[in-house]
Symmetry: C2
């Protein structure tokens, strides 16, 4: 699928980029560009024309200004772990990679941290844990993904049930606008007047500019943490347990579900010996807070599990036991990689109350399409992550799997959910946007985009469906395919 | 200060408005327009040319389309309780009042409520309390302010320390754009892809359109609630207590401070007999959650108060006792109204750690300017509400008080804070915006505004400083007055 750069006259652009950021921070040799061909959505690949590796806001601004001057599209990339192709280059583009922007400034007194976008998510917690703090959003990829990418995709994670996603933790940003100007959006305190442009930028997938410094709020580490593992002989019982826990007014830090297929996949590969292979589903429930609060919640949750027919509830109190219980969940995606040459992760949201029905429907779709689907997901906030196993080397399988993925999204939208929980739209799901938004709704977003990026150079092919990428026909089809979401 | 409507040819506009919403929903008699002359910022007054009272989204859209067609500015108004003049009409404007839009649809299963903008804040909680839920943002005016106004100003309240401000509780909006088109922004679940336009609209003070239906999330009512009243012989000790409680990882539902002047004002007027008149400051701390959690937090807070030299800590457990402790705080603004013909409420934010110093500085400013300042505020999130007492009938006092208010904002910005915590910028503080934002930062907001409202008809004189309203000189002065906020 790799196409060649269009017949642009690149030498003057590259010369200007070298002047902007320094010659040693520009990558142009074909073999060195290979590594930038895709992000975590490996089924889409495209080599960029040139890569720049700035170190400062000024260098990013200078590189972006070059793009603006020469009308060259640019795509920002952090660690390249995104799952929707948000950092997928265009053939005719400059890829601006923030991997060398890794400074962290800690301000414990005001409970905030200022980072460059290339800082790895987990480093933020490492930088403040000595003082008893942590950074809450924790994508599964937190040991390798960058904060800049998290900001672009408004990333979530296991603990977002209680603590919210990235946007709830970003106080302000230094933003390089697509014409190359530098502005500050948001601030250093939560209450900033005027339009919430920081909130607008978070989750805009690099289409409104590049965040070059990010002020994050950090939280006090909880006094006590427990993890409970409950196993069930039916998915319904596990789903009802999730609803009952939230309904009781308890907000666990995280509440994850794994189905029987995932349990066995994980046990086959990493052999945790914690997860019962004959369970229909397990729940991993992490609770945190003051010791008394955790003890009390723990008892209540156990009672709710019992009432819903859990066969066993294992409680892990110390750090080592907790890690043991989490190990299988953390290894789940990797386990799929060992069971199957490729897997496609879908990311949809449903109302929690619909869990059992939607999981049954996914199973039926899996059988109808003939591909195995493993369900490992954030049950507490109804954020599904069906993993569809396939073999990309077999012609037609990728397309078939994307069809199945689309059918799963249809399920989500049909029950009042969303086509993305935390992975973003990127290149992968833009053709499904008309399922959630009317033409006028999307146009309003485009007006805003046009205001910030009049030349449409910032990651231009992402998020929004276009006739060129989705086709008018495809768009009409998506609208027909998805029953119009009934307005409240 | 009331000026006359410009020499526009109003009859055809009014005729079109009558056709749009019905003749009985258009107000044009001068004496009936009087009531719409100001909002809660009573020092600014302006009679609108005409008032419309729509009942539905379609009627709002039709009225806005008329304004668009005739190039007439329009201002939206909810209950008119805002404190920054956000709903202040222009002489040449149509005032669109949402007071007749008061429908509520409850969806307990999905923990959300859909309301029209004229619904009173407190009605939301009343509509769901039977099912054990409540709506968290609780401005002091919650028994009279409207959800539409809360959305426009991104209102806060006592419980926003733990639960966040309005934007954290709005899932989606039906929005009438300034050209009269209707779009949906956000959605019915928290995770909605694309640009966060709902977040952009919340707090935009009516400059990006009019929200005509609002989906709010509701929260499970806590099992237990306690209120602690602690009294201190120094403001420093009270401030240190606030920092220590947060530093211990406790997040109270609310944590309010009142200074000696406020305590005595309240006792003079409402005689609660709860607040010690000789205290330098009192803290009112509300904690909520599970019973065990509340009991544990209560003990810890008491210990922290003791360590900081609190003379006494009173704990209110049942609803009646809690109300008794809150009564004085809730009556504080009204008490000022009995002590002084007028008062001006400032709204600034500072880092919590700066509380004692900033309160000393406010006292010094109060003495220098010769006006009494009472401090009653959300101490937990550093959101100050200095109440400046004055007499508007004495020429020059309003201007002098606005000067003092400006000096207080200077203090806030100087320590790294903000010029507004929850009341918005409105008509009142637009000339201070350059203290927090560079020209480029403000211009970026204006681009967004221009994209949504190309004719600049939606509440056109609010939020942003203009040479016409602030004067280039005033703007330069504001910039000189406020030392440039040091970038992190």
């Amino acid at each position: 699928m790799v196409t060649q750069a269009q017949s642009r006259n690149w030498p003057p652009v590259i010369q200007a980029l070298e002047a902007a950021v320094g010659r040693d921070q520009v990558v142009r040799r074909r073999e060195e560009l290979l590594v930038y061909e895709c992000d975590g959505l490996t089924s889409y690949r495209q080599r960029p024309a040139v890569v720049v590796l700035p170190r400062t806001t000024e260098q990013v601004a200078a590189a972006v200004a070059v793009c603006h001057r020469f009308d060259v599209p640019f795509v920002a990339r952090g660690a390249g772990t995104g799952l929707s192709g948000g950092a997928l280059p265009l053939a005719d583009s400059v890829l601006i990679v923030t991997a060398m922007m890794r400074q962290i400034e800690v301000d414990i007194e005001n409970q905030r941290v200022r980072v460059q976008p290339g800082v790895i998510n987990h480093w933020v917690t490492q930088a403040v844990s000595g003082a008893g703090f942590y950074y809450a959003p924790d994508p599964s990829s937190q040991s390798v993904c960058s904060v800049g990418g998290n900001v672009a995709e408004n990333s979530g994670g296991v603990h977002c049930l209680k603590y919210g996603v990235t946007t709830n933790h970003v106080l302000g940003l230094t933003l390089v606008l697509p014409p190359g100007e530098v502005v500050e959006v948001g601030g250093k305190v939560a209450e900033t007047p005027g339009y919430d442009l920081a909130g607008l930028v978070v989750g805009s997938e690099g289409t409104l500019g590049i965040a070059t410094e990010i002020t994050l709020r950090i939280l006090k580490a909880p006094e006590a943490v427990q993890v409970l593992l409950a196993d069930f002989t039916s998915v319904e019982a596990a789903g009802a347990t999730v609803s009952d826990i939230i309904g009781a007014g308890i907000v666990p830090a995280g509440m994850e579900m794994m189905d029987n297929f995932s349990i066995n996949a994980v046990e086959d590969v990493v052999a945790t010996a914690c997860y019962p292979r004959d369970a229909a589903a397990i729940l991993l429930i992490e609770i945190d807070g003051l010791a008394a609060e955790v003890a009390d919640n723990s008892e209540r949750i156990r009672a709710i599990c019992d009432r819903n027919g859990a066969r066993q509830v294992t409680v892990a109190v110390d750090a080592e036991e907790r890690l043991r219980l989490w190990k299988g969940r953390k290894a789940a995606f990797a386990a799929m990689g060992k069971l199957s040459p490729d897997y496609y992760v879908q990311d949809g949201v449903i109302p929690r109350t619909q869990l059992p029905q939607v999981l049954r429907d996914i199973e039926a779709l899996s059988q109808r399409h003939g591909y195995r689907v493993a369900n490992v997901f954030h049950a507490g906030d109804g954020n599904l992550h069906p993993l569809i196993l396939y073999d990309n080397s077999v012609p037609g399988q990728l397309e078939a799997v994307e069809d199945l993925g689309g059918d799963i999204l249809k399920l989500c939208v049909g029950v009042g959910g969303s086509i993305s929980g935390e992975h973003g739209i990127g290149a992968d799901k833009r053709c499904y946007m008309p399922a959630m938004f009317s033409a006028a709704d999307l146009e309003t977003m485009q007006w805003v985009r046009q205001a910030i990026d009049p030349k449409r150079l910032a990651n231009p092919t992402k998020i929004f469906p276009t006739p060129a990428t989705c086709g008018e026909a495809a768009r009409a089809q998506a609208q027909a395919h998805f029953p119009q979401v009934e307005r409240f």
